[in-house]
Symmetry: C2
Subunit: 324 residues, 2 copies
Amino acid sequence: MTDITMIRAAQARLEGHARRTPLLTSPFLDEIAGRRVLVKPECLQHTGSFKYRGARSALSALDPDVRARGVIAFSSGNHAQGVALAAREFGVPAVIIMPSDAPRTKIDNTGALGAEVVLYDRAGEDRDAIGDRLSAERGLTLIKPFDEPQVIAGQGTTGLEIAEEAAALGIETADVLVCCGGGGLTSGIALALEADAPGLRARPVEPEGFDDVARSLRHGRIERNATSAGGLCDAIVTPQPGALTFPIMHRLCGPGIVVSDDEALHAMALAFQRLKVVAEPGGAVALAAALFHADETEGDTVICTISGGNVDADVFTTALTRFG
Amino acid sequence: MTDITMIRAAQARLEGHARRTPLLTSPFLDEIAGRRVLVKPECLQHTGSFKYRGARSALSALDPDVRARGVIAFSSGNHAQGVALAAREFGVPAVIIMPSDAPRTKIDNTGALGAEVVLYDRAGEDRDAIGDRLSAERGLTLIKPFDEPQVIAGQGTTGLEIAEEAAALGIETADVLVCCGGGGLTSGIALALEADAPGLRARPVEPEGFDDVARSLRHGRIERNATSAGGLCDAIVTPQPGALTFPIMHRLCGPGIVVSDDEALHAMALAFQRLKVVAEPGGAVALAAALFHADETEGDTVICTISGGNVDADVFTTALTRFG
């Protein structure tokens, strides 16, 4: 199980590789939220999302002989790019299994980062069977997207940075709003805050219709979404919280917050206008919660992540046209 | 005259106020340029451009009694917002004289930052006369946008950071491409590099039709633009290099580079796609030079600034539609 020792070890392994993202602010956002808003823009991380941290953490923790045989991942998005880049940095093969209907830019990017992309037909082919066969044939190691201790440890390094940056600003208590899919980033941050900033509390934020974590936390047991894919915020949509991530979130997190797709688009437009960073819809839900659900948080400061910025131009343009 | 001692003193005064911007990279940009590209995104600076550094430097260098009477600036853009925020932080009045046809968002933002905005009619009113009258009546101190030693010193702190970051990466020689209007940022960076990274060389980058600095450097004397305002890259358009900035640039800078408006828009789209930051057209010219004028630079690494991100949604959408 991931603990603070593993997160600190991951941070040491990521030193000089993962980018330390700054904390951004804007008086205009403070005014909307009615309190100080601090934004951790992981869209500025390598590959455009926090996923690189977990991928690099997992690959760097592998035995070199095992790693040399290569890694494999299932992903249609940010995890794919994180694993592809980390594998390229180590000079080892990466196979990414993607649905054939994934956005062309994500397929192209993953391939351009040096990974072998294997496409499968969602309707007619068994993704896991393909993965099992390739892994057995080539001795590849599976890098899961969130329910994997070293991945959680890597994402937790974001929390170590938040704790340090908050302390430098004299912030002792605050809600830390985290864009939440399977819970890798949320649980990692929660563990880091528990150790280094116990007055800061992680709060998962999800899009409407995919609020499995909020419901699971409320009911104290893992619940599933009615639908498990699609939606504007696709980057953070998962069927249910992870078997490893949920107990951590249940022990440490405050209640989940749920935002609408329109609120996410509005937050994207404000991140463009006031912070000059690019957020993808799923990456903007925590900022949306900070700005538009202020009544659900407490204190004079709120901290929120922007988890990624891998958004197509047409979706971004929609956000600017409607809310710019 | 600005020198390295003044720049270091400005850095000390800006400590805890100006944001230290990270150096961003993308393997996709490296591939386009055919070499490593390092990007200093000053669009992430407070108020969305490097101008805050110079404004804060100038205000913090004033005698407190003088500062308390307030400051005045002429600007339709980024300098206005930098001065407004710095004045608000010191709790002193700021008067910004803007043309009545300036973009509404820039007028609104400057006012929202607490400045008193005085609009004048470009055709029928004398801007300088209005400024002189207000300054005399209220004892306001004029903060010039670039031809002012403490402003140059503040912009130069960007160069101190670049020098330090390049050294950390083991970079000893590189061209540093700087978005250039009046030359405050370019001359400040050039002075900082001369002291702290003598193998790095500042290179001004301008948009076509407004290449006064490139021509002035080539001919060894100050030359003017045929037109002194307008154009897509309005944020960095000035009539001619400054009386203080030109001698510094002439002594220290490599030749200027000139990019087209289309290249600036294309660079904006690539900054969106690959770096997840928002660049305004004038703020994207140095990145455009790095990517599309590789034959005009030397070495295996090129460093470039993104000087600002204050762009309206419609211009940004145009860049994404055409080049996204």
